[in-house]
Symmetry: C2
Subunit: 247 residues, 2 copies
């Protein structure tokens, strides 16, 4: 029973090690995380830490899943706390804020993977939960917002003219032919998230949302915009608006 003390201590030192590792990550990147250095910073010798983590890789993996979980929870909370009409924007901004506040953790999740690396099953679970959140945020985007313009299809011919939605549920934006093709292609895919699987159209919206937000955020946190003389948040808001507008 009193072994609980030991377990508490064990968990505590594990957390301390991960915390020190995060500090190292922030200032030297993934490659700068050293078991030896962490141990030294904690006041013990190198091999002692191997009582708590089987390998440097396990520590790294735990850092990743922790960050993943944290991000997923942050998004879920942002969606839950927002009014239905604001959910989408709240989710997107929460994502960006999280990434900007701790770039290294974002890159830990979405950065360059090691070729051989196999993500633990826990990771895919978290990813599925996050996809659920994105679904929820996306599904509430056109509803009762009143801010979306109903764009009537133009008369010009061509592949990009907006066509009537195939057979989807609620009253949403009309889709272009290519959007409809993507929706059809995604109809059978999945399952991507727990709970009921949405239709292809919503999956397409979610996928667009994910990739576009990641595009802006990842280039931003990697510093690819530095020296270009503009505020990335303006670009982000523009992309956000395009997503809302485009359904």
């Amino acid at each position: 029973m009193a072994t609980a003390r030991r377990e508490r201590y064990r968990k505590q030192t594990r957390e301390e090690a991960k915390s020190v590792a995060l500090a190292q990550l922030a200032e030297s990147g993934t490659a700068g995380i050293s078991v030896n250095a962490i141990a030294k910073a904690m006041g013990m010798t190198g091999p002692a830490l191997y009582r708590y983590f089987a390998s440097r890789d396990e520590l790294l993996t735990e850092l990743i899943t922790d960050a993943y979980r944290d991000l997923a929870e942050t998004l879920a909370r942002a969606v839950a706390d927002a009014a239905p009409a604001d959910r989408f924007r709240a989710m997107a901004r929460a994502l960006r804020d999280w990434a900007k506040r701790q770039p290294d953790r974002y890159l830990l999740i979405y950065g360059t993977p090691v070729p051989g690396y196999q993500a633990p099953p826990e990771t895919t679970e978290i990813a599925a939960g996050m996809m659920r959140t994105i679904f929820d945020a996306c599904s509430s985007v056109g509803e009762s917002g009143g801010a979306t313009a109903s764009v009537t299809p133009g008369v010009t011919a061509g592949a990009a003219a907006r066509v009537a939605p195939s057979a989807t549920a609620s009253g949403e934006q009309p889709l272009t032919e290519v959007e409809a093709a993507l929706a059809r292609h995604l109809e059978g895919a999945g399952p991507w998230a727990p709970g009921e699987e949405p239709g292809g159209e919503l999956k397409g919206r979610a996928l667009r949302t994910w990739t576009r937000l990641h595009g802006v955020i990842s280039l931003d946190v990697q510093g690819q915009f530095t020296g270009m003389g503009f505020d990335p948040s303006v670009l982000f808001e523009a992309e956000l608006d395009a997503l809302v507008r485009g359904g």
Copy 2:
């Protein structure tokens, strides 16, 4: 004069080293590139390679700039070889093809950077040249294509209704308010590319293009789509279409 032999030999072994390094990169990631292992694979001892590269970092940097240059040239050629109406799609597809064919090199350019790492000035030059290519591809997107639909603004009020373009040059898509705001914000930014600097609207289009294509491509080459049961190229084409449509 006959020192040319030596120089040729020198260049040759440098190239061989980089080639071996690329092989290591493909199978073990950036961290798996080892000067010792490269030398051994070339039939010499470790320290010998330090006659050719001052440090492991210099080798890495050279790998990055090589990849960057290669990518930039590939895009430029794709744009140059395509008919004006196809330039945009040609550029985008060339980008994706290049990335899919050699994911590790793409991630070398756009992957997680080391926090302390300062890109050599040569890199920013190449980036500027590539931005020029993107500008060229984007500027020819609405012209004479005939495939873009002229979307008439809906009657519904709200921030997302399309408004008349501010004062831009050619006959292009009308902009939403947020797009116009982004264009205004980008008007003074730069210079991003050699040659004449385009207006804010074109800069906005280029930025959207860059971030959206990168969003799809990076998640794809990182394997984030694996197991989701859909073809990423369909998503890519849908995004491409949205970019063409949206100006």
